[in-house]
Each structure stands twice: as structure tokens, then as C-alpha cells.
């Protein structure tokens, strides 16, 4: 892996589309064998960042290494060692599973291609269905095929762009099992996602909004850094209560979670003062640990004030 102890080690990565800065001065360090979750609202620059890492887009600024290679000049070498899974299924629907795998294996000049394709089919559990057209696969199977195709050249780093969008919970869980297994064998992952449960399955997270990396670290670190205080409220007439407390000083989020209400804010004292009149017997108030989602939404609100 070279001198760097990181699989991804970049600083100051910037991309502009015309006058708009889509990725602004992002630094990222990912260790080998780590699953790094990349979160952020739609259009925040996640995909653009991934595309720059694998050489699809030319960055306007930044430096650093990807798998020990200069990510700005050695993109051809990097491509050989990286697997990139696009957001949309981007294999050939009018080719069979086997033909798709074989095609990708040829592009990567995989040695002993036939054996590699065979192995990949086996791991997919698609040996029997190899002649099936990729277009006829269900969403979950398409995603597994895409993952298998990304892995066929035995990359060291996988960039997965919303790999589980539109995939059912069972398939998603299987997918994450697979990823953890692969990470344990030394593969590094950079995965974008919108699902909080998936975020919490990552070793470390980064949260990006408006092109800026707002928070990063383990789940606990990110939650801690968010500095959010959250109350959980249960009882009658929660909707009416929500209307009353929304907008009070210090109350930043009032979100309904099933039969409970989450009320949170960054200034714990102000929040307490504002909700004090409502601490009656009608409702049960409990102080809970803030969730990732609350933290992210809070970060997004702050970022909106700062950047947009």
C-alpha cells in the first residue's frame, strides 16, 4: 500500500461547476479495512466527490493519495484498484449475468478471466441463472450483480454510491453482512447512504452538506459533536403539543416518532426553560440520547445559515 497508512488520504478537494462550488475543501482519511459512511442530503456533493476519487471528474483543487497513489495524476492506476458502483444500475440489461461479468473482467484485464467469472457467479449464488438477462433481475439481485461486478478485479477500495436505494430490508441486511465480511478481509469501503440504520453500521461517518464536510468520526463522536439535547415526549394530543412548542426559543426540532415526540435543541438550558411550562402530568418527558438523524438535521439547519 506504500508509505501512507490510509487507503484514502486527501485534503482540500474542491470541484466547481461553473460558478457553483459543489465540493468545497473536503479532507478525508479512511483506513484500510474501514467502512466509511458518507452522508448528506441530495445534491450535497457526495457523488461528485466519489467521481473525483475514481478519476471520472477532474478536481479543481486538492491533493492527496488514494491507495498510495496521487489521486490527481494517477487516476488510471487508481481505476485498476478501485471498484465503483454507480447510483443507478449501470450494467447492460440486454446482456446476461455472465456476459456482464465477463465484459467487466475483460475491461480490467483480469488474469484467468473465466475462473474469476465462475468464482464471482458462485459467490453470487447465480451459477444456475447465469444465462438470465440482467434486465429481468429484481432490484435486490441487480444490486448484488453490481457488487459482484465491482469486485471481479479484486479491488482494494470500493466506492459505493447509494448501493441500497430501493432494495428491500432483507436484501439490505444481507448486503451489509457481505460488506462487513469483505471489510474484515482488508477491503476499504466508502459508501454513501441516506439510511440512518446503515450509517450506524459504518465504522466511521462523514456528513456533507452544501459541499462542506460538517462532521466526521464514529457514530458516537458525531452525535457528541452535534451537541444536541433531546427529550422524548409521550402521552395524549402530541400533535397539539408539537404545535405549541415548535418555534419557542431553543427548540430546534420537534419530530414525531410514532407515538412519541422528539424535541431537541443545541442550547440545553434554553430548551429546558422553553419546555418547562409543558412538563405536566399530561405528558411523560424523558431525556434521551440524540439520534444520528436529529444530529444531521441540526447540522443541516446550521449549514443552511452558514453556506447557502
Amino acid at each position: 500500500m506504500g508509505a501512507s497508512e490510509f487507503a484514502i488520504d486527501v485534503r482540500g478537494v474542491t470541484k466547481k461547476f461553473g460558478a457553483r462550488t459543489v465540493v468545497n475543501d473536503i479532507a478525508m482519511q479512511v483506513r484500510p479495512g474501514e467502512i466509511y459512511g458518507f452522508l448528506g442530503p441530495n445534491g450535497s456533493g457526495k457523488t461528485t466527490f466519489l467521481r473525483m476519487l475514481c478519476g471520472l471528474l477532474t478536481p479543481d483543487g486538492g491533493e492527496g493519495k488514494c491507495l498510495g497513489l496521487d489521486f490527481r495524476t494517477a487516476s488510471n492506476e487508481i481505476k485498476k484498484r478501485v471498484g465503483y458502483m454507480t447510483q443507478k444500475f449501470s450494467f447492460y440489461e440486454d446482456l446476461t449475468i455472465e456476459e456482464n461479468l465477463d465484459f467487466i473482467a475483460r475491461l480490467y484485464e483480469v488474469p484467468q478471466r473465466k475462473a474469476a467469472v465462475e468464482k464471482s457467479l458462485e459467490r453470487l449464488g447465480m451459477t444456475q441463472r447465469r444465462q438470465q438477462l440482467a434486465g429481468t433481475l429484481s432490484g435486490g439481485w441487480k444490486q448484488r450483480l453490481a457488487l459482484a461486478a465491482c469486485l471481479i478485479h479484486e479491488p482494494q477500495l470500493l466506492l459505493l454510491d447509494e448501493p441500497t436505494a430501493g432494495v428491500d430490508p432483507k436484501a439490505r441486511r444481507d448486503f451489509w453482512e457481505e460488506i462487513h465480511k469483505l471489510a474484515a478481509s482488508g477491503l476499504t469501503f466508502l459508501i454513501t447512504t441516506h439510511y440512518m440504520d446503515e450509517a450506524s453500521r459504518c465504522h466511521r461517518l462523514g456528513y456533507i452538506a452544501y459541499g462542506n464536510l460538517l462532521a466526521h468520526g464514529t457514530v458516537a463522536e458525531v452525535v457528541q459533536a452535534g451537541g444536541l439535547t433531546t427529550w422524548e415526549v409521550s402521552g395524549e394530543n402530541l400533535a397539539a403539543l408539537a404545535d405549541k412548542i415548535r418555534g419557542l426559543p431553543g427548540v430546534e426540532q420537534v419530530v414525531a416518532f410514532g407515538t412519541t415526540l422528539h424535541v431537541s435543541g443545541r442550547d440545553a438550558e434554553k430548551l429546558r426553560a422553553s419546555v418547562a411550562p409543558f412538563l405536566t402530568n399530561a405528558h411523560r418527558w424523558t431525556k434521551i440520547e440524540s439520534g444520528l438523524e436529529d444530529v444531521f438535521i441540526s447540522l443541516l439547519e446550521t449549514a443552511k445559515d452558514n453556506f447557502s
Binding site: T58, K79, T86, L107
Partner: protein, 376 residues
């Protein structure tokens, strides 16, 4: 379910909004009728006049000058060149620089005066029979009357037996005026234009539309490998099509194969590349497959009408001919007809090769520039 006007109107409005959003389609809806109007209304003329004509006056006499003058006045012939040998005339006809050649033989006036009915030779490049038909009819009319003016005084007696000279008309390359000889070889060019532009346009746009291009480019594959790899199969398809037409030309239509077929196959490659370059350039502009097809059609229509495939090239007004000269099909038609019907070699084809090469260079420059932009 009854027909509800409000729901119906909602669909109508939605269609109009979408129509307006797709600028290119909208442009095509207005553009194609306009192009057709201009082409059919102004450019196409099935009775071509002012055809370039060479004269070889071996006998320079008042009579031959009268004939020259009369030809010019008929408005069918423009005397563009004067030859100094019979060989020169053959050369020009082969290259296609002239449509007609008039030869006044050495002893024309002497024989005429003696009442021996000399021959006046009119040679035509009849590869496209429809280009020469009217002109030939005009010239035979001319022959009976034109010289009478000069036959005065004692020569008046020569008028009596109409016409005082024989007009010998030679239709070169297609003596029987068989239009298939012209159309069938030309079809190779038309078919290649259509297939190459539409298919390459589609093949690359489809890749982008379905998102597979992004996936391809994330692999170590070089963009050049993608483009060339994508078009080579279609070049083969092009040659299969060409083979089919050539076989049909030979065995179904009895088209003469006077020139070298290997030469034709070799030169066709340049033409195929020209069309592929157009297809690639279109694919960098088109946002989806529908637009790619529309753009291909927009290119195909003038190619078909202004190249001399359907209507005689020289029948068109000057601006239309200038435009036609820019199209690769125009030059390819001259090459394919030249080789098959006239037996032309590389030297005679050269004047039509460099315009195609220039077209390829310009198109590829645009295509590559646009292709680069679509990546970032």
C-alpha cells in the same frame, strides 16, 4: 367511464409543456418542414439546364461557331471548357467536370458545303440519365434549324434536305439510359449514411442515457477504446450492407462493374468514417436516443435530396449545389458511380476524396471537442 373534458385537457396541456421543454424536438418539428419546403420548392429541378459542356472544335469555321452559339442560347448548355484533343474530353467526362462534350470534326465545314452531311458528335455523361434527357432532346431540335441561317445565297439548296449534318449522340457509361445503373450503386452511399449516422448516434447516446457510460469510464478503459470499440462492429455492418447491394446490383440489376471493386471497397472506408464522425458528433449533442434519431434525420434529408441521388445535381441552383458539395454523400456518389460505370481509377476519384477527408477532419474535431466536454 365517460369522456371528461377537464381530464382530457390536462393531458393536452401536459403534452404541450413537454413539447416546449424539449427544444430540439420542437426545433425539428418546425425545422424539418422548412427544410423540406426549401429543398423541394427551390432546390429540386428535374429539368436541369446550364449543364457544363466542353467543346472540341477541330474545325474552326463560321458553322462551328454558330453551333457553339446556338448551344449556349438553348440554356441547356454552358460552354465551360474548350478542349484541344479528344483525349482531354474523355478525361473530363470521366472526372465528371463536364456533362456534355461537343466535337466538331476537322473537315466539318468542307463536308457540309459539299452536302456530304458531316457528323457532329455530342457525347454525354449519362450515368444519371435524367440529367441529360432534356438537353439531348433540345440539341436534336437545334440541329435541324440552327445552321439554316448561315446557308444563304448559293448554299440555300442545302437547307432543302433537313438537317444538313448528322448529329451523332453518344451516351457514355449508360447508353441505354437505365436508371437502375445510377440508382443502385448510389444506394450504397444512401444506406451507409443512414445506418452509420443513426446507429452510432444511438449506440453512444443509449450508453449515456442508461448510465452505463459512467460505469464504463470508471473502469480503466480509455475513452478512445470505447468509441472505436463501439463503432468497429458497425463498420462491419456497413460493409455487409455494401456487399448485399453490390451483389444485387450485379445479379439482379445487371449494373456494369467496369472499375475495380477493391478500390471501391477501400475508398468506401473514408466515407464510412465520415458518417461515423457525424454520428459521434450528434451523440455528443443529443440528450437522448430520440434526439439522436431526429438529428440523424435532419442530416439525412438534405443528403438524400441535395447529393444528386434522387435528383440531378446540376439541376439545382448554385447555392444548393454549394451546399451539396459539403455533403460526403455527394462525393461518394460520384466515386461509386465513377468506379462502377465509368471505370475510374484513383486519379479520377481524387477530386472527390479530399472533400470527404476535409469533412472527416472538421467533424472529428467538433466531435472530440464536444466529447471531452461531456466527460467533465
Amino acid at each position: 367511464m365517460s369522456f371528461n373534458l377537464q381530464r382530457f385537457w390536462a393531458v393536452v396541456l401536459k403534452e404541450f409543456i413537454q413539447m416546449r421543454r424539449d427544444r430540439l424536438t420542437f426545433g425539428m418539428m418546425v425545422g424539418i418542414p422548412m427544410v423540406q419546403l426549401i429543398l423541394f420548392g427551390y432546390a429540386i429541378n428535374s429539368n436541369p439546364k446550364h449543364l457544363p459542356t466542353a467543346i472540341y472544335a477541330a474545325d474552326n469555321s463560321p458553322f462551328s461557331r454558330t453551333i457553339v452559339w446556338a448551344l449556349r442560347n438553348s440554356s441547356y448548355f454552358d460552354l465551360t471548357r474548350e478542349a484541344h484533343s479528344a483525349a482531354e474530353i474523355q478525361n473530363w467526362l470521366a472526372e465528371g467536370t463536364v456533362q456534355f462534350a461537343v466535337t466538331v470534326p476537322v473537315d466539318f465545314s468542307r463536308k457540309l458545303l459539299r452536302g456530304e452531311k458531316p457528323d457532329l458528335l455530342l457525347e454525354a455523361d449519362a450515368t444519371d440519365p435524367s440529367a441529360v434527357g432534356f438537353a439531348q432532346a433540345a440539341v436534336s431540335q437545334l440541329a435541324t434549324t440552327v445552321i439554316n441561317r448561315d446557308l444563304t445565297g448559293p448554299l440555300t439548296r442545302l437547307r432543302a434536305s433537313a438537317p444538313p449534318f448528322n448529329l451523332v449522340s453518344h451516351q457514355h457509361y449508360n447508353p441505354e439510359s437505365i436508371s437502375q445503373y445510377n440508382i443502385v450503386p448510389g444506394l450504397i452511399g444512401v444506406m451507409l449514411t443512414m445506418t452509420m449516422i443513426i446507429i452510432t448516434g444511438l449506440a453512444i447516446t443509449r450508453e449515456r442515457e442508461r448510465g452505463t457510460m459512467e460505469n464504463l469510464l470508471s473502469t480503466p478503459v480509455h475513452p478512445g477504446e470505447v468509441i472505436i470499440g463501439k463503432i468497429v462492429p458497425y463498420i462491419m455492418v456497413g460493409y455487409v450492407q455494401m456487399t448485399l447491394v453490390l451483389l444485387a446490383a450485379k445479379f439482379l440489376f445487371d449494373v456494369p462493374f467496369i472499375g475495380s471493386v477493391p478500390l471501391l471497397v477501400a475508398l468506401t472506408f473514408l466515407f464510412i468514417v465520415a458518417n461515423l464522425a457525424v454520428g459521434i458528433t450528434f451523440s455528443t449533442i443529443a440528450k437522448n436516443q430520440l434526439q439522436a434519431v431526429q438529428m440523424a434525420f435532419f442530416f439525412f434529408l438534405p443528403s438524400l435530396l441535395l447529393s444528386g441521388y434522387m435528383f440531378p445535381f446540376r439541376g439545382m441552383p448554385g447555392w444548393a449545389q454549394d451546399f451539396g458539395e459539403c455533403l460526403p454523400l455527394t462525393h461518394f456518389l460520384r466515386i461509386v458511380r465513377g468506379i462502377l460505370l465509368k471505370g475510374n481509377g484513383i486519379a479520377e476519384c481524387a477530386p472527390d476524396l479530399w472533400p470527404i477527408a476535409l469533412f472527416v477532419t472538421v467533424m472529428l474535431a467538433i466531435g472530440i471537442k464536444r466529447y471531452r466536454q461531456t466527460l467533465d
